[in-house]
Protein backbone atom coordinates (compact mmCIF):
# COMPACT_ATOMS: atom_id res chain seq x y z
CA UNK A 1 0.00 0.00 0.00
CA UNK A 2 1.38 3.35 -0.99
CA UNK A 3 2.01 5.77 1.83
CA UNK A 4 2.39 8.82 -0.36
CA UNK A 5 0.95 9.06 -3.82
CA UNK A 6 1.44 11.94 -6.23
CA UNK A 7 -0.76 12.03 -9.31
CA UNK A 8 -0.22 14.40 -12.20
CA UNK A 9 1.42 17.18 -10.21
CA UNK A 10 2.11 20.26 -12.32
CA UNK A 11 3.20 23.69 -11.24
CA UNK A 12 4.30 26.65 -13.29
CA UNK A 13 6.18 29.78 -12.20
CA UNK A 14 5.69 32.38 -14.91
CA UNK A 15 7.38 30.93 -18.00
CA UNK A 16 8.98 27.99 -16.20
CA UNK A 17 7.19 24.66 -15.97
CA UNK A 18 8.72 23.62 -12.65
CA UNK A 19 6.85 20.32 -12.45
CA UNK A 20 5.17 18.68 -15.39
CA UNK A 21 2.67 15.90 -14.71
CA UNK A 22 4.76 14.14 -12.08
CA UNK A 23 3.29 10.88 -10.83
CA UNK A 24 4.90 8.51 -8.39
CA UNK A 25 4.28 6.75 -5.13
CA UNK A 26 6.15 5.85 -2.03
CA UNK A 27 5.66 2.62 -0.08
CA UNK A 28 5.67 2.48 3.69
CA UNK A 29 9.13 1.71 5.02
CA UNK A 30 10.86 2.66 1.81
CA UNK A 31 13.75 5.06 1.36
CA UNK A 32 12.99 6.61 -1.98
CA UNK A 33 15.51 8.72 -3.83
CA UNK A 34 14.62 11.59 -6.09
CA UNK A 35 17.51 12.85 -8.16
CA UNK A 36 17.99 15.29 -10.98
CA UNK A 37 20.19 18.18 -12.00
CA UNK A 38 19.85 21.69 -10.59
CA UNK A 39 16.52 23.26 -11.38
CA UNK A 40 14.88 19.92 -12.13
CA UNK A 41 12.05 20.69 -9.69
CA UNK A 42 13.07 18.58 -6.72
CA UNK A 43 12.66 21.22 -4.05
CA UNK A 44 9.44 22.43 -5.67
CA UNK A 45 8.07 18.92 -5.38
CA UNK A 46 9.01 18.89 -1.68
CA UNK A 47 7.33 22.19 -1.13
CA UNK A 48 4.15 20.81 -2.69
CA UNK A 49 4.16 17.78 -0.38
CA UNK A 50 4.93 19.73 2.78
CA UNK A 51 2.40 22.40 1.93
CA UNK A 52 4.70 25.38 1.39
CA UNK A 53 3.54 25.59 -2.25
CA UNK A 54 0.26 24.70 -3.88
CA UNK A 55 0.42 22.63 -7.07
CA UNK A 56 -1.56 23.98 -10.06
CA UNK A 57 -2.99 20.57 -10.85
CA UNK A 58 -2.76 17.04 -9.50
CA UNK A 59 -3.46 15.35 -6.22
CA UNK A 60 -1.26 14.31 -3.33
CA UNK A 61 -2.57 11.48 -1.21
CA UNK A 62 -0.95 10.60 2.09
CA UNK A 63 -2.14 7.60 4.08
CA UNK A 64 -5.24 7.53 1.87
CA UNK A 65 -6.01 11.14 2.74
CA UNK A 66 -6.08 13.93 0.19
CA UNK A 67 -3.70 16.65 1.40
CA UNK A 68 -5.48 19.31 -0.58
CA UNK A 69 -6.30 22.39 1.48
CA UNK A 70 -4.25 21.26 4.46
CA UNK A 71 -1.77 23.83 5.70
CA UNK A 72 1.86 23.13 6.48
CA UNK A 73 1.33 22.77 10.21
CA UNK A 74 -1.65 20.45 9.72
CA UNK A 75 0.49 18.23 7.49
CA UNK A 76 3.15 18.15 10.20
CA UNK A 77 0.48 16.92 12.60
CA UNK A 78 -0.27 14.08 10.18
CA UNK A 79 3.34 12.96 10.55
CA UNK A 80 5.09 14.61 7.61
CA UNK A 81 8.44 16.15 8.58
CA UNK A 82 11.09 17.73 6.40
CA UNK A 83 14.51 19.28 6.36
CA UNK A 84 15.54 22.21 4.20
CA UNK A 85 18.10 22.55 1.45
CA UNK A 86 18.91 26.10 2.58
CA UNK A 87 19.21 25.47 6.30
CA UNK A 88 16.24 26.74 8.29
CA UNK A 89 17.35 26.20 11.84
CA UNK A 90 16.22 28.56 14.57
CA UNK A 91 19.70 30.03 14.42
CA UNK A 92 19.86 32.08 17.62
CA UNK A 93 18.41 29.30 19.76
CA UNK A 94 20.34 26.43 21.30
CA UNK A 95 20.43 23.01 19.69
CA UNK A 96 18.27 21.63 22.49
CA UNK A 97 15.68 24.38 22.03
CA UNK A 98 15.61 23.71 18.30
CA UNK A 99 14.73 20.09 18.94
CA UNK A 100 12.12 20.97 21.55
CA UNK A 101 10.10 23.19 19.20
CA UNK A 102 8.37 20.37 17.29
CA UNK A 103 7.68 18.62 20.60
CA UNK A 104 6.15 21.90 21.83
CA UNK A 105 3.99 22.06 18.73
CA UNK A 106 2.51 18.69 19.65
CA UNK A 107 2.14 19.47 23.34
CA UNK A 108 -1.25 20.55 24.60
CA UNK A 109 -0.34 23.37 26.96
CA UNK A 110 -0.90 26.97 25.94
CA UNK A 111 0.35 30.31 27.18
CA UNK A 112 -1.71 30.14 30.38
CA UNK A 113 -0.37 26.79 31.50
CA UNK A 114 3.10 28.05 30.67
CA UNK A 115 2.76 31.37 32.50
CA UNK A 116 1.52 29.75 35.70
CA UNK A 117 3.82 26.74 35.39
CA UNK A 118 0.92 24.36 35.94
CA UNK A 119 1.91 20.79 36.79
CA UNK A 120 1.08 19.61 33.30
CA UNK A 121 3.28 22.30 31.74
CA UNK A 122 6.20 21.29 33.91
CA UNK A 123 5.62 17.61 33.15
CA UNK A 124 5.42 18.21 29.40
CA UNK A 125 8.48 20.44 29.53
CA UNK A 126 10.47 17.73 31.26
CA UNK A 127 9.26 15.02 28.86
CA UNK A 128 10.10 17.18 25.83
CA UNK A 129 13.58 17.87 27.12
CA UNK A 130 14.21 14.18 27.79
CA UNK A 131 12.96 13.26 24.34
CA UNK A 132 15.11 15.91 22.65
CA UNK A 133 18.17 14.83 24.62
CA UNK A 134 17.58 11.21 23.61
CA UNK A 135 17.47 12.18 19.94
CA UNK A 136 20.62 14.29 20.36
CA UNK A 137 22.34 11.29 21.92
CA UNK A 138 21.21 9.05 19.06
CA UNK A 139 22.66 11.50 16.53
CA UNK A 140 25.88 11.96 18.50
CA UNK A 141 25.17 15.63 19.16
CA UNK A 142 25.20 15.49 22.95
CA UNK A 143 28.23 17.75 23.30
CA UNK A 144 26.47 20.47 21.29
CA UNK A 145 23.26 20.42 23.36
CA UNK A 146 23.64 23.98 24.69
CA UNK A 147 25.40 25.42 21.64
CA UNK A 148 23.71 28.19 19.67
CA UNK A 149 22.57 26.37 16.54
CA UNK A 150 23.67 29.07 14.10
CA UNK A 151 27.27 28.84 15.28
CA UNK A 152 27.68 25.18 14.26
CA UNK A 153 29.34 23.99 11.06
CA UNK A 154 27.08 23.26 8.09
CA UNK A 155 27.52 19.53 8.58
CA UNK A 156 26.41 19.71 12.20
CA UNK A 157 23.57 22.09 11.37
CA UNK A 158 22.25 19.55 8.85
CA UNK A 159 22.39 16.92 11.55
CA UNK A 160 20.51 19.19 13.97
CA UNK A 161 17.85 19.75 11.32
CA UNK A 162 17.55 16.00 10.96
CA UNK A 163 17.20 15.71 14.73
CA UNK A 164 14.57 18.43 14.81
CA UNK A 165 12.58 16.61 12.13
CA UNK A 166 12.88 13.34 14.08
CA UNK A 167 11.50 15.08 17.18
CA UNK A 168 8.27 15.56 15.28
CA UNK A 169 7.90 11.75 15.50
CA UNK A 170 7.20 11.64 11.77
CA UNK A 171 5.93 8.74 9.74
CA UNK A 172 7.26 10.30 6.56
CA UNK A 173 10.49 12.25 6.44
CA UNK A 174 11.36 14.45 3.48
CA UNK A 175 15.08 15.13 3.22
CA UNK A 176 15.96 18.01 0.95
CA UNK A 177 19.62 17.69 -0.05
CA UNK A 178 20.85 16.52 3.34
CA UNK A 179 24.37 16.05 1.95
CA UNK A 180 24.78 19.55 0.51
CA UNK A 181 27.83 21.13 2.08
CA UNK A 182 28.99 17.88 3.69
CA UNK A 183 32.43 16.40 3.06
CA UNK A 184 32.94 12.82 1.89
CA UNK A 185 33.26 11.39 5.39
CA UNK A 186 30.15 13.15 6.64
CA UNK A 187 28.23 12.01 3.56
CA UNK A 188 29.26 8.41 4.16
CA UNK A 189 28.13 8.71 7.78
CA UNK A 190 24.81 10.10 6.64
CA UNK A 191 24.33 7.27 4.14
CA UNK A 192 24.80 4.80 6.99
CA UNK A 193 22.60 6.80 9.34
CA UNK A 194 19.48 6.89 7.17
CA UNK A 195 18.83 3.10 7.15
CA UNK A 196 19.58 3.12 10.88
CA UNK A 197 16.89 5.78 11.42
CA UNK A 198 14.47 3.70 9.44
CA UNK A 199 15.27 0.60 11.48
CA UNK A 200 15.01 2.42 14.77
CA UNK A 201 12.03 4.74 14.22
CA UNK A 202 10.25 3.00 11.36
CA UNK A 203 10.22 6.15 9.27
CA UNK A 204 9.61 6.18 5.54
CA UNK A 205 11.89 8.59 3.72
CA UNK A 206 11.93 10.59 0.54
CA UNK A 207 15.42 11.76 -0.22
CA UNK A 208 16.41 14.43 -2.70
CA UNK A 209 20.08 14.93 -3.43
CA UNK A 210 22.75 15.57 -6.00
CA UNK A 211 25.16 13.32 -4.25
CA UNK A 212 25.01 10.05 -6.16
CA UNK A 213 27.18 8.24 -3.60
CA UNK A 214 24.59 8.97 -0.94
CA UNK A 215 21.54 8.21 -3.05
CA UNK A 216 22.97 4.99 -4.44
CA UNK A 217 23.92 3.73 -1.01
CA UNK A 218 20.91 4.78 1.03
CA UNK A 219 17.95 4.40 -1.31
CA UNK A 220 15.89 1.34 -2.23
CA UNK A 221 14.40 2.88 -5.32
CA UNK A 222 15.14 5.99 -7.35
CA UNK A 223 13.17 8.39 -9.51
CA UNK A 224 15.00 10.77 -11.84
CA UNK A 225 13.58 14.20 -12.50
CA UNK A 226 14.71 16.55 -15.26
CA UNK A 227 13.08 19.83 -16.26
CA UNK A 228 10.03 18.99 -14.20
CA UNK A 229 9.47 15.57 -15.78
CA UNK A 230 10.22 12.08 -14.49
CA UNK A 231 12.62 10.56 -16.99
CA UNK A 232 13.61 7.32 -15.32
CA UNK A 233 13.00 5.10 -12.33
CA UNK A 234 14.25 1.87 -10.81
CA UNK A 235 16.62 0.39 -8.26
CA UNK A 236 19.91 2.29 -7.89
CA UNK A 237 21.94 -0.06 -10.08
CA UNK A 238 19.55 0.21 -13.01
CA UNK A 239 19.10 3.98 -12.80
CA UNK A 240 22.80 4.68 -12.72
CA UNK A 241 23.27 2.78 -15.98
CA UNK A 242 20.23 4.25 -17.75
CA UNK A 243 21.60 6.15 -20.76
CA UNK A 244 18.91 8.84 -20.44
CA UNK A 245 19.93 9.54 -16.88
CA UNK A 246 23.58 9.59 -17.79
CA UNK A 247 22.80 12.10 -20.51
CA UNK A 248 20.63 14.33 -18.32
CA UNK A 249 22.51 14.13 -15.14
CA UNK A 250 25.67 12.15 -14.79
CA UNK A 251 27.18 13.38 -18.01
CA UNK A 252 27.22 17.00 -16.99
CA UNK A 253 29.07 16.71 -13.73
CA UNK A 254 32.50 15.11 -13.51
CA UNK A 255 32.77 14.66 -9.78
CA UNK A 256 29.77 12.42 -9.29
CA UNK A 257 30.73 8.81 -9.37
Amino acid sequence: MAMLELKGISIRFGGVQALDDVTFSLKRGEILGLIGPNGAGKTTLFNCVSGVLKADTGTITYEEQDLKGLKTDARAHLGIARTFQNLQLFASMTVLENLMVPLDAFAARGMVGDAFRLPRARYEEKKAEEHARAILHFLGLTEHTETIAGSLSVGLQRRVELGRALCLRPKLLLLDEPAAGLDAVETAELAALLPEIRARFGITMLLVDHDMALVMKACDYIYVLDFGKLISEGPPARVSSDPQVVKAYLGEAEEVA
Partner: protein, 336 residues
Protein backbone atom coordinates in the same frame (compact mmCIF):
# COMPACT_ATOMS: atom_id res chain seq x y z
CA UNK B 1 28.66 32.11 41.15
CA UNK B 2 26.43 30.57 38.52
CA UNK B 3 24.07 32.73 36.43
CA UNK B 4 20.88 31.50 38.13
CA UNK B 5 22.20 32.37 41.61
CA UNK B 6 23.41 35.75 40.38
CA UNK B 7 20.02 36.43 38.83
CA UNK B 8 18.16 35.46 41.99
CA UNK B 9 20.45 37.60 44.12
CA UNK B 10 20.05 40.66 41.89
CA UNK B 11 16.27 40.24 41.67
CA UNK B 12 16.09 39.94 45.45
CA UNK B 13 18.28 43.02 45.95
CA UNK B 14 16.16 44.92 43.42
CA UNK B 15 12.94 44.03 45.25
CA UNK B 16 14.37 45.07 48.64
CA UNK B 17 15.52 48.43 47.23
CA UNK B 18 12.25 48.99 45.36
CA UNK B 19 10.25 48.44 48.56
CA UNK B 20 12.57 50.35 50.91
CA UNK B 21 13.57 53.45 48.94
CA UNK B 22 10.06 54.85 48.23
CA UNK B 23 9.31 54.30 51.92
CA UNK B 24 11.85 57.01 52.72
CA UNK B 25 10.53 59.46 50.14
CA UNK B 26 7.83 62.12 50.16
CA UNK B 27 4.39 61.33 48.77
CA UNK B 28 5.12 63.20 45.57
CA UNK B 29 8.07 60.96 44.77
CA UNK B 30 6.09 57.90 45.84
CA UNK B 31 3.49 58.75 43.22
CA UNK B 32 6.28 59.08 40.65
CA UNK B 33 7.56 55.69 41.74
CA UNK B 34 4.11 54.21 41.22
CA UNK B 35 3.95 55.75 37.73
CA UNK B 36 7.39 54.28 36.97
CA UNK B 37 6.18 50.82 38.00
CA UNK B 38 3.12 51.17 35.78
CA UNK B 39 5.27 52.16 32.80
CA UNK B 40 7.40 49.12 33.60
CA UNK B 41 4.27 46.97 33.21
CA UNK B 42 3.62 48.59 29.83
CA UNK B 43 7.22 47.88 28.85
CA UNK B 44 6.69 44.24 29.82
CA UNK B 45 3.79 44.13 27.39
CA UNK B 46 6.05 45.29 24.58
CA UNK B 47 8.78 43.00 25.82
CA UNK B 48 6.57 40.04 25.13
CA UNK B 49 5.68 41.16 21.62
CA UNK B 50 9.03 42.49 20.45
CA UNK B 51 11.38 40.40 22.54
CA UNK B 52 9.69 37.08 21.82
CA UNK B 53 8.06 37.10 18.43
CA UNK B 54 9.97 40.09 17.03
CA UNK B 55 6.96 42.26 16.24
CA UNK B 56 6.84 45.97 16.94
CA UNK B 57 3.87 47.94 18.20
CA UNK B 58 3.41 51.69 18.29
CA UNK B 59 -0.02 51.48 19.87
CA UNK B 60 0.57 50.02 23.34
CA UNK B 61 -0.82 53.17 24.97
CA UNK B 62 -3.98 52.77 22.90
CA UNK B 63 -4.45 49.36 24.51
CA UNK B 64 -3.61 50.93 27.88
CA UNK B 65 -6.19 53.62 27.12
CA UNK B 66 -8.85 50.96 26.49
CA UNK B 67 -8.11 49.48 29.89
CA UNK B 68 -8.04 52.87 31.60
CA UNK B 69 -11.25 54.14 30.04
CA UNK B 70 -13.10 50.94 30.84
CA UNK B 71 -12.10 51.37 34.47
CA UNK B 72 -13.02 55.06 34.28
CA UNK B 73 -16.41 54.46 32.74
CA UNK B 74 -17.34 51.57 35.03
CA UNK B 75 -15.99 52.71 38.36
CA UNK B 76 -15.64 56.47 37.93
CA UNK B 77 -17.59 58.84 40.15
CA UNK B 78 -19.88 59.82 37.24
CA UNK B 79 -19.93 56.25 36.00
CA UNK B 80 -21.37 53.07 37.39
CA UNK B 81 -19.45 52.99 40.70
CA UNK B 82 -18.44 49.40 40.08
CA UNK B 83 -15.64 47.89 42.06
CA UNK B 84 -12.13 48.18 40.61
CA UNK B 85 -11.91 44.40 40.91
CA UNK B 86 -14.69 44.05 38.34
CA UNK B 87 -13.85 46.96 36.07
CA UNK B 88 -10.12 46.16 35.92
CA UNK B 89 -10.53 42.60 34.52
CA UNK B 90 -13.10 43.96 32.07
CA UNK B 91 -10.60 46.64 31.00
CA UNK B 92 -7.95 43.97 30.52
CA UNK B 93 -10.39 41.90 28.46
CA UNK B 94 -11.36 44.90 26.37
CA UNK B 95 -7.70 45.76 25.71
CA UNK B 96 -7.06 42.10 24.83
CA UNK B 97 -9.91 42.25 22.33
CA UNK B 98 -8.34 45.37 20.83
CA UNK B 99 -5.02 43.56 20.60
CA UNK B 100 -6.66 40.59 18.93
CA UNK B 101 -8.29 42.83 16.31
CA UNK B 102 -5.05 44.70 15.59
CA UNK B 103 -3.26 41.35 15.50
CA UNK B 104 -5.33 40.12 12.55
CA UNK B 105 -4.00 42.60 9.95
CA UNK B 106 -0.61 42.37 11.67
CA UNK B 107 -0.39 38.65 10.86
CA UNK B 108 1.12 39.21 7.46
CA UNK B 109 3.15 42.27 8.36
CA UNK B 110 6.45 42.79 10.08
CA UNK B 111 9.06 45.47 10.47
CA UNK B 112 8.34 48.86 9.01
CA UNK B 113 4.89 47.92 7.70
CA UNK B 114 3.79 46.71 11.09
CA UNK B 115 5.16 49.90 12.64
CA UNK B 116 3.04 51.97 10.27
CA UNK B 117 -0.05 49.85 10.84
CA UNK B 118 0.17 50.16 14.62
CA UNK B 119 0.93 53.86 14.37
CA UNK B 120 -2.20 54.20 12.27
CA UNK B 121 -4.19 52.35 14.91
CA UNK B 122 -2.87 54.71 17.59
CA UNK B 123 -3.64 57.83 15.55
CA UNK B 124 -7.06 56.49 14.61
CA UNK B 125 -7.88 55.75 18.25
CA UNK B 126 -6.72 59.24 19.27
CA UNK B 127 -8.91 60.87 16.68
CA UNK B 128 -12.00 58.67 16.58
CA UNK B 129 -12.20 56.73 19.81
CA UNK B 130 -10.64 58.81 22.56
CA UNK B 131 -11.38 62.29 21.20
CA UNK B 132 -14.15 64.39 22.69
CA UNK B 133 -17.48 64.03 20.94
CA UNK B 134 -17.28 60.55 19.47
CA UNK B 135 -17.54 58.03 22.31
CA UNK B 136 -18.22 60.27 25.28
CA UNK B 137 -20.10 57.63 27.21
CA UNK B 138 -16.89 55.61 27.17
CA UNK B 139 -14.23 58.29 27.46
CA UNK B 140 -16.13 60.88 29.48
CA UNK B 141 -15.62 63.58 26.86
CA UNK B 142 -14.66 66.97 28.31
CA UNK B 143 -15.25 65.75 31.87
CA UNK B 144 -12.64 63.05 32.38
CA UNK B 145 -13.75 60.08 34.45
CA UNK B 146 -12.44 59.98 37.97
CA UNK B 147 -12.12 56.40 39.16
CA UNK B 148 -11.14 55.97 42.79
CA UNK B 149 -8.41 53.81 44.24
CA UNK B 150 -9.23 50.14 44.85
CA UNK B 151 -9.77 48.49 48.20
CA UNK B 152 -7.69 45.44 49.02
CA UNK B 153 -8.76 43.19 51.91
CA UNK B 154 -10.78 46.04 53.36
CA UNK B 155 -7.84 48.42 53.11
CA UNK B 156 -8.44 51.43 50.87
CA UNK B 157 -5.26 52.07 48.85
CA UNK B 158 -5.49 55.86 48.98
CA UNK B 159 -2.01 56.39 50.42
CA UNK B 160 0.73 56.91 47.85
CA UNK B 161 3.02 54.34 49.43
CA UNK B 162 0.36 51.65 49.79
CA UNK B 163 -0.72 52.14 46.19
CA UNK B 164 2.88 52.06 45.04
CA UNK B 165 3.41 48.74 46.81
CA UNK B 166 0.20 47.41 45.29
CA UNK B 167 1.32 48.39 41.78
CA UNK B 168 4.78 47.00 42.44
CA UNK B 169 3.39 43.61 43.46
CA UNK B 170 1.32 43.53 40.28
CA UNK B 171 4.43 44.37 38.29
CA UNK B 172 6.29 41.51 39.96
CA UNK B 173 3.45 39.09 39.21
CA UNK B 174 3.31 40.12 35.56
CA UNK B 175 7.10 39.93 35.33
CA UNK B 176 7.01 36.42 36.81
CA UNK B 177 4.36 35.29 34.32
CA UNK B 178 6.27 36.79 31.41
CA UNK B 179 9.46 35.16 32.65
CA UNK B 180 7.74 31.77 32.90
CA UNK B 181 6.45 32.11 29.37
CA UNK B 182 9.87 33.18 28.20
CA UNK B 183 11.72 30.17 29.58
CA UNK B 184 8.92 27.76 28.68
CA UNK B 185 7.18 26.60 25.57
CA UNK B 186 5.73 30.02 24.70
CA UNK B 187 9.10 31.73 24.56
CA UNK B 188 10.61 28.92 22.53
CA UNK B 189 7.75 28.77 20.08
CA UNK B 190 7.58 32.53 19.55
CA UNK B 191 11.32 32.82 19.10
CA UNK B 192 11.19 29.95 16.61
CA UNK B 193 8.54 31.82 14.64
CA UNK B 194 10.72 34.92 14.70
CA UNK B 195 13.72 32.94 13.43
CA UNK B 196 12.05 31.08 10.58
CA UNK B 197 8.35 31.11 9.88
CA UNK B 198 8.61 28.40 7.25
CA UNK B 199 10.51 26.05 9.55
CA UNK B 200 8.18 26.81 12.46
CA UNK B 201 5.08 25.92 10.47
CA UNK B 202 6.77 22.82 9.06
CA UNK B 203 7.36 21.75 12.65
CA UNK B 204 3.60 21.86 13.21
CA UNK B 205 3.20 25.33 14.71
CA UNK B 206 0.08 27.26 13.82
CA UNK B 207 1.57 30.69 13.07
CA UNK B 208 -1.78 32.48 13.04
CA UNK B 209 -2.71 31.16 16.46
CA UNK B 210 0.60 31.99 18.11
CA UNK B 211 1.04 35.43 16.61
CA UNK B 212 -2.51 36.41 17.52
CA UNK B 213 -2.00 35.04 21.02
CA UNK B 214 1.15 37.13 21.42
CA UNK B 215 -0.61 40.29 20.28
CA UNK B 216 -3.61 39.58 22.49
CA UNK B 217 -1.62 38.85 25.64
CA UNK B 218 0.60 41.85 25.02
CA UNK B 219 -2.43 44.12 24.69
CA UNK B 220 -3.97 42.57 27.82
CA UNK B 221 -0.87 43.42 29.85
CA UNK B 222 -0.93 46.96 28.43
CA UNK B 223 -4.61 47.18 29.40
CA UNK B 224 -3.72 46.15 32.94
CA UNK B 225 -1.11 48.91 33.04
CA UNK B 226 -3.73 51.37 31.77
CA UNK B 227 -6.24 50.29 34.42
CA UNK B 228 -3.64 50.92 37.13
CA UNK B 229 -2.71 54.25 35.58
CA UNK B 230 -6.36 55.32 35.68
CA UNK B 231 -6.67 54.77 39.43
CA UNK B 232 -3.18 56.06 40.17
CA UNK B 233 -3.86 59.41 38.52
CA UNK B 234 -7.50 59.30 39.55
CA UNK B 235 -8.60 60.81 36.26
CA UNK B 236 -8.68 59.38 32.75
CA UNK B 237 -7.73 61.91 30.13
CA UNK B 238 -7.26 60.86 26.50
CA UNK B 239 -4.07 62.91 26.26
CA UNK B 240 -2.35 60.41 28.57
CA UNK B 241 -2.86 57.61 26.06
CA UNK B 242 -2.01 59.24 22.75
CA UNK B 243 0.36 57.95 20.08
CA UNK B 244 3.28 60.06 21.34
CA UNK B 245 3.27 58.07 24.57
CA UNK B 246 3.28 54.86 22.55
CA UNK B 247 6.24 56.00 20.47
CA UNK B 248 8.17 57.07 23.56
CA UNK B 249 7.46 53.67 25.07
CA UNK B 250 8.73 51.86 21.97
CA UNK B 251 11.85 54.05 21.94
CA UNK B 252 12.54 53.32 25.62
CA UNK B 253 12.11 49.59 25.03
CA UNK B 254 14.57 49.71 22.18
CA UNK B 255 17.11 51.77 24.15
CA UNK B 256 16.90 49.47 27.15
CA UNK B 257 16.75 46.29 25.11
CA UNK B 258 13.87 44.01 24.27
CA UNK B 259 13.53 40.61 25.83
CA UNK B 260 15.08 41.45 29.20
CA UNK B 261 12.91 41.91 32.25
CA UNK B 262 15.47 44.19 33.89
CA UNK B 263 15.08 46.63 31.03
CA UNK B 264 11.39 46.94 31.93
CA UNK B 265 12.21 48.06 35.46
CA UNK B 266 14.95 50.44 34.38
CA UNK B 267 12.92 51.76 31.45
CA UNK B 268 10.03 52.55 33.81
CA UNK B 269 12.34 54.52 36.11
CA UNK B 270 13.82 56.32 33.12
CA UNK B 271 10.48 57.57 31.78
CA UNK B 272 9.40 59.21 35.05
CA UNK B 273 12.62 60.08 36.83
CA UNK B 274 14.71 61.62 34.08
CA UNK B 275 12.20 64.46 33.43
CA UNK B 276 12.08 64.98 37.21
CA UNK B 277 15.86 65.10 37.36
CA UNK B 278 15.88 67.65 34.54
CA UNK B 279 13.46 69.79 36.54
CA UNK B 280 15.78 69.69 39.51
CA UNK B 281 18.73 70.71 37.38
CA UNK B 282 16.72 73.63 36.12
CA UNK B 283 16.50 72.20 32.60
CA UNK B 284 13.16 72.28 30.84
CA UNK B 285 11.65 68.78 30.80
CA UNK B 286 10.89 69.31 27.12
CA UNK B 287 14.49 68.28 26.54
CA UNK B 288 13.53 64.72 27.52
CA UNK B 289 12.71 63.59 23.95
CA UNK B 290 16.05 65.01 22.83
CA UNK B 291 17.86 62.96 25.46
CA UNK B 292 15.88 59.87 24.54
CA UNK B 293 16.64 60.38 20.85
CA UNK B 294 20.35 60.84 21.55
CA UNK B 295 20.37 57.67 23.62
CA UNK B 296 18.56 55.84 20.85
CA UNK B 297 21.19 56.76 18.28
CA UNK B 298 24.05 55.99 20.69
CA UNK B 299 22.53 52.67 21.62
CA UNK B 300 21.94 51.65 18.00
CA UNK B 301 25.62 52.28 17.27
CA UNK B 302 27.26 50.92 20.41
CA UNK B 303 24.82 48.42 21.90
CA UNK B 304 22.38 47.21 19.23
CA UNK B 305 21.02 44.56 21.58
CA UNK B 306 19.93 47.32 24.01
CA UNK B 307 21.68 49.30 26.72
CA UNK B 308 20.39 47.40 29.75
CA UNK B 309 20.89 44.07 28.04
CA UNK B 310 24.46 44.99 27.19
CA UNK B 311 25.05 46.19 30.73
CA UNK B 312 23.74 42.90 32.12
CA UNK B 313 25.97 41.01 29.74
CA UNK B 314 29.10 43.08 30.46
CA UNK B 315 28.49 43.00 34.20
CA UNK B 316 28.10 39.24 34.03
CA UNK B 317 31.43 38.96 32.23
CA UNK B 318 33.12 41.37 34.61
CA UNK B 319 31.97 39.39 37.64
CA UNK B 320 32.83 36.16 35.82
CA UNK B 321 29.26 34.93 35.98
CA UNK B 322 28.66 32.65 33.01
CA UNK B 323 27.39 35.25 30.55
CA UNK B 324 23.74 35.48 29.68
CA UNK B 325 23.01 34.15 26.26
CA UNK B 326 23.20 37.42 24.38
CA UNK B 327 21.91 35.66 21.28
CA UNK B 328 18.50 35.38 22.91
CA UNK B 329 17.99 39.07 22.33
CA UNK B 330 17.06 40.10 18.82
CA UNK B 331 18.64 43.24 17.51
CA UNK B 332 16.51 46.16 16.48
CA UNK B 333 17.64 45.64 12.90
CA UNK B 334 15.75 42.34 12.95
CA UNK B 335 12.61 43.95 14.25
CA UNK B 336 12.39 47.02 12.07
Amino acid sequence: MNPATARRASVFAGIVLAVAIPGLMTDYYRSLAALAVIVAILILSLNLLTGFVGQISFCQYTFAGLGAMTVGALSGAQGHHWSFWISMPLGVLFAALGGFLVGIPALRLSGLFLAILTLGVALGADRYLFANGTWNSFTGGVNPRTPSRPTLFGYHLTGQYSFYLFAFVIFLLVALLVWNMRIGKTGRVLRAIRESEVAASTMGLNLVKWKLAAFTVSAAIAGLGGALLAVQIGSVSPASYDFLHSITLAAVVVVAGVGSLASAAIGGLFVWWVPELLNHLGVNAQFFPLILGTLLVTQLVFAPQGGVVKLQHDLGKLLKIGGRRAALEPELAEVL
